[in-house]
């Protein structure tokens, strides 16, 4: 097994998502906001999914959220960094949008993975260009 290969599928940024991945590389979670409604949205696109307006801005999100839902996968994807069982989770960010993620620094059990528990973003280095946002339980 090579240690050099990232053992996750590596996202390929598009012109409309590049800013998001640039943010991750710098350790920042970037969201966008519809300026007409004030509502944040995800995944990235240069217009508002609420109104169709192109009047939007990007901003740095707090990186805080809650564990919204998940499954614990018991089968092994090919050449994947996490050993089963591991959770495939959705977090709800403080700003409103939800995103898929993995939960790190936490036992992958129903007991440890409590719905609504606070989580915060961390970034996993995959390549020189791509760092992947993952989440860990917030240290209290």
């Amino acid at each position: 097994m090579s240690d050099q290969k990232p053992r996750r599928p590596v996202p390929k940024p598009t012109p409309e998502t590049q800013h998001f991945w640039d943010g991750c590389k710098n350790g920042e979670l970037i969201l966008q906001r519809c300026m007409d409604t004030g509502k944040a949205y995800f995944p990235p696109r240069p217009f508002s999914p609420y109104t169709g307006s192109r009047n939007v801005e990007t901003f740095r999100a707090s990186g805080k959220g809650i564990l919204y839902s998940y499954v614990i996968n018991h089968r092994a994807p090919a050449n994947f960094i996490l050993e089963p069982p591991f959770a495939i989770a959705v977090v709800e960010l403080e700003e409103g949008p939800r995103m898929m993620t993995n939960i790190i620094d936490c036992e992958q059990t129903p007991e440890a993975l409590e719905l609504d528990m606070p989580v915060e973003v961390a970034f996993e280095h995959l390549t020189d260009d791509i760092s992947l946002p993952v989440f860990r339980p917030t240290q209290s």
Partner: protein, 380 residues
């Protein structure tokens, strides 16, 4: 649409279903189509419209020797065939075709001659879901469920029970893949696939196919089979990314599609004698019963637990055993439609006595899309 303007005049599944390494994907389409044409008393030269999903209708038409003047390749997942019915009703009413063939075939288990499917690294799914270890529907379609169970305080036993009740129907069907009775404990103790889902809460993976032929009702009267009328149709869509589903306890696609089918048919919930809800996983009948309005929010698990949908209940549901027990090649919607047609013809091995209206509801992708069809054996 005008309720009853179009009828199913031919319906059939493939000659065999289950593990079929000796039949290719396209031949499953053709076998089902040939069986449906025989059922309808029609030949390829009588068919002038072709719809299919995943494969292109051009390929299916040519393979079967059909020269279509109407095609529909809408491919929005396993409910595509319900959506094809809706589109076919519009086309037949408008005179764009006379006899429309809708085919499904899928070598889901044996993978003989399948069209490859891949998610590109630059697609939204490739960027924002694939890196987290999602593999296939059991690792995605299931993600909203813990939120649903917590919201309505539903114990896992009541989710498992969905599979138990449907197995009772499968036991009546000679062609069902899994027919042995099971208990809630059997379901909960089965191999864990993606917590909280065990193997028995997930659909089968089998090979097979099915086909329907639709014609205008005025033509159907003189054809071989007693017509099964289309009273209403609906379709809906939400997102191909399960993480972006707006409400984890309810499907937008289900609500839109279901409401449209009720609106176009003009029927009430109490008129429905027989119900099919595409069950790729055990939670789908729960979301379906609630989003279609048969149950209040969070009440579907109890509704099934109290045996309202079981054999002899007042709302028989998934009477073929469903994708959990009957068959599931990957795009199960066609088999739900086939059971609705059998019920309306009065020939289901799990026949609901006196059933006159069947509501058939499908899901596509993972809560990505939906299609609904209301059938009746009585002309409106």
């Amino acid at each position: 649409m005008k309720p009853g303007s179009v009828a199913v005049v031919g319906a059939a599944e493939t000659t065999e279903m289950g593990k079929l390494p000796h039949v290719s994907n396209i031949m499953l389409h053709a076998d089902a189509a040939l069986n449906a044409m025989e059922d309808a008393g029609l030949k390829p030269s009588d068919i002038d419209g072709v719809a299919t999903a995943r494969e292109v209708p051009t390929e299916i038409a040519h393979y079967l020797g059909i020269q279509p003047r109407w095609v529909d390749g809408t491919s929005v997942g396993g409910c595509s065939f319900m959506v094809h019915v809706r589109h076919a009703v519009a086309a037949l009413e408008a005179g764009l075709a006379n006899n429309i063939l809708i085919t499904h075939g899928e070598s889901g288990r044996s993978q003989v001659g399948m069209t490859p499917r891949a998610i590109g690294a630059g697609m939204l799914e490739g960027q924002f879901q694939l890196p987290y270890g999602v593999m296939n529907p059991p690792t995605m379609f299931t993600i909203p469920v813990l939120r649903y169970l917590k919201t309505y305080n539903i114990p896992i036993e009541k989710l498992a029970n969905v599979a138990v009740v449907q197995r009772e129907y499968a036991a009546m069907h000679p062609r069902a893949y899994m027919r042995d009775p099971i208990t809630v404990d059997d379901v909960l103790n089965a191999k864990m696939i993606a917590y909280p889902f065990t193997l028995l809460m997930c659909c089968l993976v089998t090979d097979g196919g099915g086909a329907l032929i639709l014609s205008r009702a005025d033509r159907a009267k003189d054809m071989k089979q007693k017509p099964v009328y289309i009273l209403g149709v609906g379709e809906g869509a939400e997102t191909t990314m399960i993480s972006q589903m707006k409400d984890f306890t309810s499907s937008q696609a289900f609500r839109i599609s279901g409401a449209e089918a009720f609106r176009t048919s003009g029927i009430k919930h109490s008129d429905v004698d027989h119900l099919m809800i595409y069950d790729a996983f055990a939670h789908l009948p729960l979301y379906g019963l609630e989003d279609l309005g048969f149950c209040g929010r969070g009440e579907a698990a109890d509704f099934i637990w109290e045996r309202n949908t079981a054999p002899g209940g007042n709302l028989p549901l998934n009477t073929n055993g469903g994708g959990l027990s009957y068959m599931h090649s990957g795009m199960y919607g066609m088999y739900a439609l086939q059971e609705s047609v059998r019920q309306m013809r009065g020939i289901s091995p799990a026949q609901v006595d006196g059933a006159e209206i069947s509501f058939c509801h499908g899901v596509g992708g993972m809560f990505a899309a939906s299609g609904s069809v209301v059938f009746s054996n009585v002309a409106p």
